[in-house]
């Protein structure tokens, strides 16, 4: 079956949303980076969306990435419209960001109860939490937590593979 699926990638600032989408983009991708004027630990930040088409095991995914800051919460709503699944990203090494991750997660699921996976990045950091711990903090199903490196194409595909499994269960 090869109908295109709309998937949303969301999560707090610096979780790796844009990196993940760039890594897996088949052909071109759209980003909307603007220079960051606040201290967020990186030079640029997404102000509207990222977009790319991906191929995951023969299934075409149309992936939309959201901005991470709460001031862009209207984009979460706009991009979540019609999405069939969500990849929520959270950093393993910044427990202080987890309440924000939970807020975004709850907001997206309140829009529509779609299948999700929790993608956990920055696992190589010294103080990293285990992906299952992150999921529990988010009050999410720990079996849906996937630790991965969004910079590595082989690894970056894993949350989407897991999400497609979850979607297959629903179809």
């Amino acid at each position: 079956m090869n109908t295109p699926l709309k998937i949303v990638v969301t999560g707090p600032v610096g979780a790796g949303k844009s990196t993940l989408i760039r890594t897996l983009a088949k052909g071109g991708y759209v980003d909307t980076d603007a220079r960051a004027t606040e201290a967020i630990g990186k030079a640029t930040t997404t102000v509207a969306m990222d977009h790319a088409v991906m191929d995951v095991g023969g299934t075409t995914l149309h992936v939309f990435g959201t901005p991470g800051q709460e001031r862009f919460d209207y984009m979460w709503e706009i991009l979540a419209e019609g999405a069939l699944g969500t990849v929520l990203l959270a950093r393993a090494d910044r427990p202080g960001d987890l309440p924000k991750a939970r807020q975004i997660f709850e907001f997206i699921l309140s829009q529509s109860e779609v299948p999700y996976v929790i993608g956990v990045t920055h696992l190589d950091a010294e103080e990293a939490w285990a992906p299952e711990e992150i999921a529990l903090f988010l009050r999410a199903d720990p079996t849906l937590a996937v630790g991965f490196d969004p910079r590595d194409p082989k690894d970056a595909i894993r949350p989407f593979v897991r999400l497609l499994d979850a979607l297959d269960g629903k179809r």
Binding site: D31, E38, T45, A48, R71, F72
Partner: protein, 120 residues
């Protein structure tokens, strides 16, 4: 005079030359308010949205080969919100009613956007 004062003066001058201007604001390209003539309550929200519209507009301009992004016009049945690129460090947003002269607004606001680009 601080940058902030200079920017506020530019916005006030815009409002003097075009009294129908309802609100005028300047935001950073990543959506944080810098200065506003208008409601403080909605300033943060409008600043974020102006940056989103301009950021997306820039990508649309590139993808459809329109060159460098200049402005985005949102037209409602009760007015316009026009967002101008002010160099690479600022965004100017102006609200006018539906019967405003859009040509005149462009003339004045583009000048303000250029001046803002020099200040920022």
């Amino acid at each position: 005079m601080t940058k902030q004062d200079q920017i506020t003066q530019l916005l006030e001058a815009l409002k003097r030359s075009l009294p129908e201007v309802r609100e005028a604001m300047v935001a950073s390209p990543d959506g944080l308010p810098i200065a506003t003539l208008g409601s403080q309550d909605t300033a943060a929200r409008i600043a974020a949205m102006a940056a989103t519209a301009l950021g997306l507009g820039r990508r649309i301009a590139q993808t459809t080969q329109l060159g460098n992004m200049k402005e985005v016009v949102v037209r409602g049945d009760q007015g316009y919100f026009v967002i101008y690129q002010a160099g690479d460090k600022g965004v100017l947003g102006v609200t006018v009613p539906a019967d405003a002269n859009l040509g005149l607004l462009h003339l004045e606001a583009r000048e303000v956007a250029r001046a803002l680009a020099d200040i920022l």
